[in-house]
């Protein structure tokens, strides 16, 4: 199987398992803002120096947002700071902390969740998508496609949280068993959740104009969704305050009577336009730490 270039980035949560355990225990007693302040002063500056992702994000602000050198450097700091907050929030939720969550388009989700057919929800590596998993109660199983290389603590804590919420994680696998598991879930009327902004596994892609430049998006999620004409929604979650998130649910329309190729073209276009709209709203919450665009 051809390895996509983007898969060079590991995409796992930073830190060892014991660090994650300590963080969760600490967050049961400590206000998240204390940790935000700590990472702002001691962690983010170091990360900017040692992490290759910092240079990538700097390019993102320079080339996509056409910022000056100083502005892009400051924006890179902000991006890494928000990313650190989002990671802390994830552990805080596992530690039992509560956040204020506003949903735009909740009725779209409710309508699909109440039907007997399966449907697909597409996410992206922006904001904090995991919050949606904890927030929505569909009444049917949600199958989330996840990267197989995540660390044990992260997977265990997700398992603990998700087990009570009718959420099953399907890890990507070299033997392609995840493809069959996703298909079975959809034909059983369940929900399948997949990120549709990052190439992994198959090198097949659709190339789209995204924020002014051409970028590759994985063909797989669009192929799965159009395989049997499933309804598709995009769900993007962004941090709006230290203790608040906003969830955007948007239906992604496509002509289910068109040819497969045309369906994939329409659906991928709808996904990319929705993602573009949200990234324009929240440019600092873009968390793809690899060179996303073709012309780097």
């Amino acid at each position: 199987m051809a390895e996509s270039e983007n898969s060079k980035w590991a995409g796992t949560t930073f830190g060892t398992s014991w660090m994650h355990c300590v963080l969760i225990k600490m967050l049961r007693w400590v206000d998240v803002r204390v940790l935000y302040a700590f990472v702002a002063v001691f962690v983010v500056p170091v990360t900017l120096i040692v992490s290759p992702g910092a240079r990538v994000i700097y390019h993102y602000f320079r080339r996509i947002w056409h910022q000056s050198v100083l502005h892009a450097a400051w924006s890179t700091y902000r991006n890494h700071y928000v990313f650190s907050q989002v990671i802390i929030d994830r552990f805080a939720i596992w530690a039992g902390k509560k956040y204020n969550i506003i949903t735009e388009g909740h009725e779209i989700y409710q309508k699909l969740a109440s039907q007997s057919d399966g449907f697909v929800q597409m996410s992206a590596h922006v904001g904090n998508y995991e919050v949606a998993g904890y927030h929505f109660k569909a009444g049917k199983t949600l199958n989330a496609l996840v990267y197989a290389g995540e660390k044990a603590t992260v997977m265990t804590n997700r398992d603990k949280m998700f087990a009570e919420m009718n959420i099953r994680m399907i890890a990507t696998s070299n033997d392609m068993s995840h493809v069959f598991a996703l298909d079975n879930a959809l034909t059983s009327g369940e929900i399948v959740s997949m990120p549709a902004d990052r190439m992994f596994g198959s090198a097949k892609c659709v190339i789209k104009e995204f924020l002014g430049k051409e970028a590759k998006f994985p063909l797989g999620p669009f192929n799965i969704a159009t395989m049997r004409g499933y309804s598709v929604i995009a769900i993007n979650v962004f941090k709006t305050k230290w203790n608040a998130f906003k969830i955007y649910v948007t239906e992604l329309p496509y002509d289910k009577d068109a040819s497969r190729r045309e369906q994939v073209a329409q659906l991928s276009e709808a996904y990319v336009r929705e993602l573009e709209k949200r990234v324009k709203q929240y440019p600092y919450q873009w968390f793809n730490f690899f060179e996303f665009w073709e012309d780097r």
Binding site: M1, M176, V179, F180, N184, I224, M227
Partner: protein, 86 residues
């Protein structure tokens, strides 16, 4: 046991659903791996083969763990189809 006729039919379906325009059934070896080294198919092609099995033969692969063995080669697909026809 899959017949030569069924094996050829499976090859034609594979060429059709995957749009392998420059390939004929004779170009595909019966026992050559479909994924990786052989035809070079990947997980996205596997999806199309899942739908092909369902549309053409009314068969679903119920257990995800069986998928890799079923899609190992044209012969394995044809034998899977034959076993469900029997």
């Amino acid at each position: 046991m899959a017949t030569a006729e069924l094996i050829n039919e499976v090859k034609e379906h594979i060429i059709d659903v995957l749009h392998l325009e420059d390939i004929t059934p004779a170009d595909i070896e019966n026992d050559a791996p479909l994924f990786g080294d052989g035809l070079g198919l990947d997980s996205i092609d596997a999806l199309e083969l899942i739908v092909m099995l369902e549309k053409q033969y009314g068969i679903r692969i119920a257990n995800p763990a069986d998928g890799k063995d079923v899609f190992k080669s044209v012969t394995s697909i044809a034998e899977f189809v034959a076993s469900h026809k029997a």
